[in-house]
Point group: C2
Chain length 473, copies 2
């Protein structure tokens, strides 16, 4: 990363920490140059960068100031809906989101796509390219049902960072986290069973419950700390819950990281009521803090946690390689994998194993984490600036998604229709609920490099929101 | 292909056609040299090749003769087991088969692997290699849920050869035929439902029924014409069957091609009793006859046939790209695909679309078909020669599998254990049944180039069979 970006990040994190408040004068160019031993022009570049991001305002002859609007917008409210198990609906709106082919001119602010343009992906693509050319039986065959052994070794090593000691034999690779999640649900629950979920919650899981004919019990979820443990305990008392499914680390869509104490407490509840935990960690390595947070799985003692993840968010979803560490459900998972897909593709597994073993993955993650952290600030800023007053916004601690809550009457599906002529698509909040709650919410993706085009799109979304609020139909 | 192989094939097809009978003298070297305008040494090479294949025997000073044992071995018997719906078992034996990693020293005569060493695969691998390097959003993204449009166009075009006019919009790509089949079963049946199947039948489907908690009704199946229509009709009268699942073209494991009239009659039965047909066509393009046989789907009028297939047998299973033409079940299939895997990998889809569009697929198929047809003759010969008298053998019309039936007391799982020290694995017959019937049968793969190593292995299997038959435990 270049020097001026480092410096800009340092200044913005001081602003974040409250060392400089809205309206405060920021240090002079000369002072920073002396303090950090960098040239005046580097400092000027850093300030221009902060200015572009809306984090510093120049005043002629007096230097740079923290802009007045730097207060964070308010957080989304905790969902208070009636707590009872419900059948899942909302497929049509998910289908709309996933039917757009890649490369379409629509600006897809709605999908869970990471930025795949980073040069740190190059060694992976080189591996795929090289391995594919050698026409070896290993890449072209059916693999072993558990998945490529070399890749499972690397995943086992990566999981140490989240506090998990899981041998490669206890890991199964899958076709994306989708397959991991649906196998986990299939291994722990039967049709008609009740599963407790965080809410809002990933639509892939909602739809799996629908497909399997299971019922979702949506629990109140705090936008900073996650699923309510009190509500969960009450629910466990009241309903015949078979599994708890949640995304506790860099949640989709809310972006929070559940505190360690809560993760431990949740595991204890699961032990006490003897239910399985299906932990989705697909964004876990994209936490902005270092070292990465622990998983619930890392506290697991009796194999009741099924950890599901993939390289879709950290590298690229087109690879379709995920994994599951299914604890005591290993045999069941192997059977479900065999039924569902036979095996995962060999070539990307082998290339991933090489890429990680050669040490390319960590630098890539570092780069993406800091890009996404910066983009969060930018996107938050743009939303504060371009959306109507009163807009509530999540404060993600990882990942690349912002959750936006509008006036209770607002309809984000109507918003999507209104955005059609502008070739912009957002994710309507309703798909993150079993029954179409959160219609007044939406999710925005801030993964890719923050360009003027994206700022324009956010402005356009904000303006359209304002128009719709002014003309309820 | 080299000249002498062409010549050898010509001679062996004359033998097959009965122009030369067992014991007949074959044309002299000189006569063939004149007839075909090739050198004497080419003819000699051709005869040595036929000799290696056991299709010609030299007699000193008198030339080459058709060996006396050229009669075909007897066919396997039609299964006569009690016809009632049964729960599926046999997972452990399947697991054993699919747990061996590729590249292991075990000679896997049991698995459904095509030969992936053909130079006609090179253009596909070059496409993968080139596409992976360009780091474009198209390969690395989530694709559209239906699958890559260009590949679906090509599949639609290929399906014309089997008499199907199906537009690309009605085709969905999948992660292998496994996903196509399990989605087809999920879309047409519920847990507890009864599905009629051919028998013996692909273990992937058997295990899917087990996983979904459905019951298999195994129907008597003729080794030359397939599922018995009389038995099917009786079964439809008697049981609440929801779907018929079968592999009518180049069946696995029996290799027959169901006659067109039977395919039409089966469809009529399905219409009359209003049940769905799940047609597995994964080996359909590997029929030895040209043009390829029609599918049941090609006669479908009301969208009740779900055609499932993949490039796993024609190209390489490691690609994990299959498809389904689900007729009236399209929406259900899209939902099940979304739940199961999210999407299929983009890169292999794009490379396949290029490969087919550039005209590489047809020549590849032609080459593989003639290799597999030759190998069938060789393998049949080896089995006749090295297995005990009374061994019954299928007569495949396509694909690359031989089904072998031994004395009723024989146990092919015991055979596999006895073959362990020789590092050879066969597919025990029991996994092709819901309940472990066909223990006295086994399946051999004859896809790869017929080498002395493989002949040795077949001899070893035959000898071990004889030993086990001599010492029942
Ligand atoms: C929380 C969560 N889990 C799982 C997935 C699916 O991941 P994959 O693309 O690896 O199937 C997503 C992506 O949308 C997600 O947001
Ligand atoms: C009849 C049949 N159908 C389907 C399959 C599975 O195909 P795929 O590897 O594309 O999932 C096989 C392979 O074993 C098979 O023999």
């Amino acid at each position: 990363m270049t020097l001026y970006i480092d410096l800009a990040n340092m200044i913005s994190s001081r602003i974040e920490q409250g060392l400089y408040r809205p309206g405060d004068r920021l240090p002079s160019v000369r002072a920073l140059s002396v303090e950090h031993g960098v040239s005046l022009s580097t400092v000027q570049q850093a300030y221009r960068h902060l200015e572009d991001q809306g984090m510093a305002t120049p005043r002629p002859k007096s230097g740079y100031f923290v802009p007045p609007s730097r207060q964070k917008p308010e957080l989304p409210m905790v969902n208070r809906a009636a707590q009872r198990p419900l059948d899942v609906s909302q497929w049509d709106n998910v289908l709309e989101l996933i039917s757009i082919p890649p490369g379409s001119p629509v600006l897809q602010l709605g999908r869970g796509m990471p930025d795949i343009s980073s040069p740190t992906l190059k060694p992976l693509l080189r591996s795929i390219s090289r391995l594919s050319r050698r026409q070896s039986v290993i890449e072209l065959s059916y693999g072993c049902i558990n998945g490529d052994p070399a890749l499972r070794e690397q995943i086992s090593r990566l999981m140490l960072d989240s506090g998990c000691q899981i041998p490669a034999e206890d890991i199964v690779t899958t076709t994306g986290c989708h397959e991991a999640l649906s196998a986990a649900i299939g291994a722990t629950c039967k049709p008609g069973d009740v599963i407790a979920v965080d809410s809002p919650s990933f639509h892939g899981v909602m739809q799996a419950l629908k497909g399997f004919g299971m019922k979702a019990l949506e629990l109140p979820t705090d936008p900073l700390t996650g699923i309510s443990l009190e509500a969960l305990e009450l629910a466990l008392e009241q309903w015949p819950i078979k599994a708890i499914q949640l995304t506790p680390t860099c949640n989709n869509p809310l972006g929070y990281i559940m505190p360690d104490a809560n993760k431990r407490a949740l595991l204890e509840l699961a032990q006490r009521y003897d239910v399985a935990i299906i932990e989705d960690d697909v964004y876990g390595e994209l936490a902005y803090s270092y070292p990465r947070p622990r998983t619930i799985k890392s506290y697991d003692e009796d194999g009741r946690v099924l950890l599901c993840s993939s390289f879709s968010k950290t590298l690229a979803p087109g690879l379709r390689i995920g994994w599951i560490a299914p604890g005591r459900y290993l045999q069941k998972i192997l059977h479900l994998k065999y039924i569902g897909t036979g095996m995962a593709a060999q070539l990307p597994q082998l290339a991933l194993a090489e890429y990680i073993a050669a040490g390319h993955y960590e630098p890539h993650l570092r780069r993406m984490r800091s890009q996404y952290a910066r983009n969060r600030d930018l996107m938050t800023n743009w939303v504060s600036r371009y959306f109507p007053p009163g807009t509530r916004v999540s404060q993600p601690d990882g990942g690349f998604m912002l959750w936006i809550e509008l006036d209770r009457q607002f309809d984000s599906q109507r918003l999507n229709r209104a955005l059609l002529p502008h070739a912009i698509q957002i994710a309507p909040g309703s798909i993150f609920s079993a029954t179409g709650k959160y219609r007044n919410c939406l999710r925005l993706n801030y993964a890719t490099k923050a360009t003027a085009e994206i700022e324009d799109a956010v402005r356009k979304v904000g303006e359209t929101v304002a128009q719709l609020l002014a003309s309820p139909d």
